[in-house]
Amino acid sequence: MDISSVFFALVTVVAIVSALMVVTCKNPINSALSLVLTFFCLATYYAMLNAPFMAAVQIIVYAGAIMVLIVFTIMLLNIRVDANKKGSHQVALGSVMGIVTLLLTGLILTRGKVSQPVGGITSDMINKLGHTELIGKVMFTDFLLPFEVTSILLLVAIVGAVILAKRKLS
């Protein structure tokens, strides 16, 4: 067992515990903070998979911006701690779904076929040229048009946010 396997196991323990805390914490703010920890674990996985850009995005966008929004939502809705009672049917449904997912995962892991990567990008290329560089290269060449359309998309989202959420318009 080399050092990265040990590290992986450590991160996985933290990821599972924090994910469990997200659903078991009584106070929604604590759940949200546990979710931040889960996001950090996911970012670590991305980094271990040689995808540092994804890791950075995971932290900047999810652990940073999205979590701010989630926390604000909780404070906006003012969910009381005691209002967070779970119905038994929810637990039953959740357990069934969980077991089914677990069985499916087991099935895929034991019986599934692993296909070979296709397309021009290989692991060697990523190791040699760098993940962020490769993303940047296709984003600014092959996917130039979608990239520019993204900015219009964000613009519409900005305008939409102001129109729908600002208290006084005009």
Binding site: V68, F140, S151
Partner: protein
């Protein structure tokens, strides 16, 4: 591979140690004298009149949404920053267009008064 992340891991460890250390050490070596006044939420000033868990106004939410959108803009700048020498003037124009379009959004938000604390 993991070696490249060693500085980051060290940073996380140091910050964890510092945070935990401050709490643990101050509780270990600090004096413990409890009195009724000391246990009150504030030792001076007003008595608390209610819970701190009040509903937040929606304007926080608007700011948070705008923050996310401009945050995503920033994400696109990272790969460009790595490649800008190779992309040259062409890349500058590409990114310039992207930023200008979002700048229109920024001017809109500003003039609309969405950044003001109404």
């Amino acid at each position: 591979m993991l070696g490249t992340y060693l500085p980051i891991m060290l940073l996380i460890l140091v910050s964890l140690a510092f945070g935990l250390g401050s709490v643990v050490f101050s509780s270990l070596i600090g004096q413990k004298k409890f009195s009724k006044v000391k246990m009150a939420p504030y030792e001076c000033g007003c008595e608390p009149i209610g819970t701190a868990r009040e509903r937040f106004p929606i304007k926080f939410y608007l700011i948070a949404m705008l923050f996310i959108l401009f945050d995503i803009e920033a994400v696109f700048l990272y790969p460009w920053a790595i490649l800008y020498k190779k992309l040259g003037v062409f890349g500058l124009v590409e990114m310039g267009l992207f930023v200008v379009i979002l700048f229109v959004g920024y001017i809109y938000v500003w003039k609309k008064g969405a950044l003001e604390w109404e």
